[in-house]
């Protein structure tokens, strides 16, 4: 029984994590038709900002040394600024180019950021420990759960709820959703294009920064490509959920999370390392059955 609860907690924790990244990607895709590879590097740079740039394997803490609230604020601020800068310099000039050029440009920006980290922090993975108080297990209904899992689940869920409320209730949130659905019409009603796109990138920065912290607390290691896998998972979450649909991105995120946790828990021991390969094979099968995704928003191109 405890095994099942453990799997459940894991599924919701990882599902919420992927849902957050998928939302960030879905928002930017909604307002700009851009699948942002660089989202992964926002997460990586957020994590690396915890330490002082050096080649050392266990570097001195930078933001990591600050008290909790200040650390969280600094990391998230770094990533938000980074997201806004990449939008302003790299993506704005490409605003109405075709889907493939946008995809390639985000691929180039991602590579640029990775090389930047390589230059500043060196290539070798590093270890950093923050919030080790959390690694103690926590006792709930007689079940021993690692504190980190609970934290991830709680933070991710609350952030998800806050974001949904923001999108549903606040004027800016409504404008963002309107722009994500019909960008031209939103502008005709006065929604300023530049501001809406900047807000979408800023939100993807906030989500990115939060995920950096959650990942670091869980793994404690800094690696140049740590943001890559969650982002690829989030790509497929948005594609399965239905491109451009924000609820679709969240549902897609949970599907990916639950799939990987289930495979992790129930695959035979020797097949367990092949879990991700299994997840992506299933994802391709889902796309074969339903290419336009679950919440397909855009009707088939009318001739």
């Amino acid at each position: 029984m405890t095994h099942f609860i453990q799997v459940l907690i894991d599924a919701v924790a990882i599902g919420s994590l992927y849902a957050l990244v998928a939302l960030a990607i879905g928002l930017v895709f909604g307002v700009m038709r851009l699948i942002n590879f660089a989202q992964g590097d926002y997460i990586t740079i957020g994590a690396y900002s915890l330490v002082v740039p050096s080649a050392a394997a266990t570097p001195a803490l930078m933001f990591g040394a600050l008290p909790w609230p200040a650390m969280i604020l600094c990391v998230i601020l770094t990533v938000v600024v980074l997201a806004l800068v990449t939008e302003r310099l790299a993506f704005r000039p490409l605003r109405n180019s075709d889907l493939t050029s946008l995809l390639i440009s985000s691929f180039a920006v991602s590579y640029f950021l990775q090389s930047l980290i390589l230059m500043v922090h060196g290539g070798r993975p590093k270890t950093v420990s923050i919030g080790d108080a959390l690694s103690r297990a926590v006792e709930i209904f007689g079940v021993r759960l690692p504190g980190v899992q609970l934290l991830t689940m709680v933070v991710a869920l609350t952030l998800l709820i806050v974001l949904v409320l923001f999108l549903k209730k606040t004027p800016i949130g409504i404008q963002l959703r309107a722009a994500a659905e019909d960008f031209q019409m939103a502008r005709l009603l006065g929604v300023p294009a530049n501001r809406v796109i900047a807000i979408a990138f800023a939100i993807s920065g906030i989500l990115g920064g939060t995920i950096s912290l959650l990942v670091i607390i869980q793994t404690g290691t800094l690696d140049i490509r740590m943001g890559l896998m969650p982002t690829i998972f989030a790509f497929f979450a948005t594609v399965i959920g239905g491109m451009g649909s924000l609820p679709g991105a969240v549902v897609g995120g949970y599907i990916m999370g639950i799939l990987s946790v289930l495979l992790q828990a129930y695959l035979p021991a020797e097949l367990r390392p092949f879990r991700d390969a299994g997840v992506f094979s299933i994802v391709i099968l889902i796309l074969l059955v339903r290419p336009q995704g679950i919440f397909a928003k855009t009707a088939k191109e009318r001739v």
């Binding site: 409504i174 404008q175 659905e181 502008r187 006065g190 929604v191």
Partner: protein, 239 residues
């Protein structure tokens, strides 16, 4: 109020507007009619800022607006309901209306206008919290008009309000447009068929192949021949 002088606009090699001169005075209801592909929609897109004209001048209440972004043009009081209405299907009726009122500063006024709009279009009050995508064609048209009125424009442009609507619904839409005009709203309407426009129009422009081929008050167009000739490019004898 709105002046368009020698405007040329197009898509790459296809010039949809060839040297257009057109004006709309305060309180008028001006219609622009013409066969498909005459450049009617391009005209509205150019005025609203969705498209920049290749040459020529567009001025609204004395101020140059050609080449300005749509979000600036609409803040000057020039609203557009594009072809196909473009309501936000995944948002609720209320949210659609709120986006419309977005550029307004005075919250009190907005609430009053919201009441007025829900009065004019009762169906919107009924479906206030429903998802806009579930509305019928006619209801979506009313929502689009209501949403634009909330911008409190001085000139409202509409691209083919009767497109894809049942005849009964078209009459309803036209009667609400007449009501709005009587409250002082100037209208510039692009229409395909000339049927219903005669009693509402102050002036009519006929556009064909990117040129204005006829401009007159409905009174002296009543005999129809001039209108047929302009509309189809030939009069009885040439048919």
């Amino acid at each position: 109020m709105l002046k368009i002088e020698q405007v040329v606009a197009g898509y790459g090699r296809l010039t949809a507007l060839k040297n257009i001169d057109l004006r709309v005075d305060k309180g008028e209801v001006v219609f622009v009619v013409g066969p498909n592909g005459a450049g009617k929609s391009t005209l509205l897109k150019t005025i609203s800022g969705l498209m920049a004209p290749t040459s020529g001048r567009i001025s609204f209440q004395g101020e140059r607006v050609d080449g300005k972004a749509p979000e600036q043009v609409c803040r000057k009081g020039l609203a557009l309901i594009p072809e196909g209405r473009h309501i936000f299907k995944t948002l609720t009726v209320q949210e659609n209306l709120l986006v419309g009122a977005m550029i307004r500063k005075n919250a009190m006024e907005v609430r009053a206008d919201m009441e007025m709009v829900l009065e004019t279009f009762p169906i919107l009050r009924e479906r206030y919290n429903g998802v806009a995508g579930h509305l019928s064609g006619g209801e979506q048209q009313q929502l689009a008009i209501a949403r634009s009125i909330l911008q409190r424009p001085t000139l409202l442009m509409i691209d083919e309000p009767s497109l894809g609507l049942a005849p009964l619904m078209i009459d309803q839409v036209y009667s609400s447009l007449r009501q709005l005009n009587q409250t002082g709203l100037t209208l510039l309407i692009v229409e395909q068929s000339t049927g219903r426009i005669m009693d509402l129009a102050s002036r009519i422009y006929v556009l064909r192949n990117g040129n204005v081929v006829l401009e007159d008050a409905p009174g002296n167009l009543a005999n129809g021949n001039a209108l047929d000739a302009a509309y189809f490019g030939f009069s009885d004898n040439a048919a």
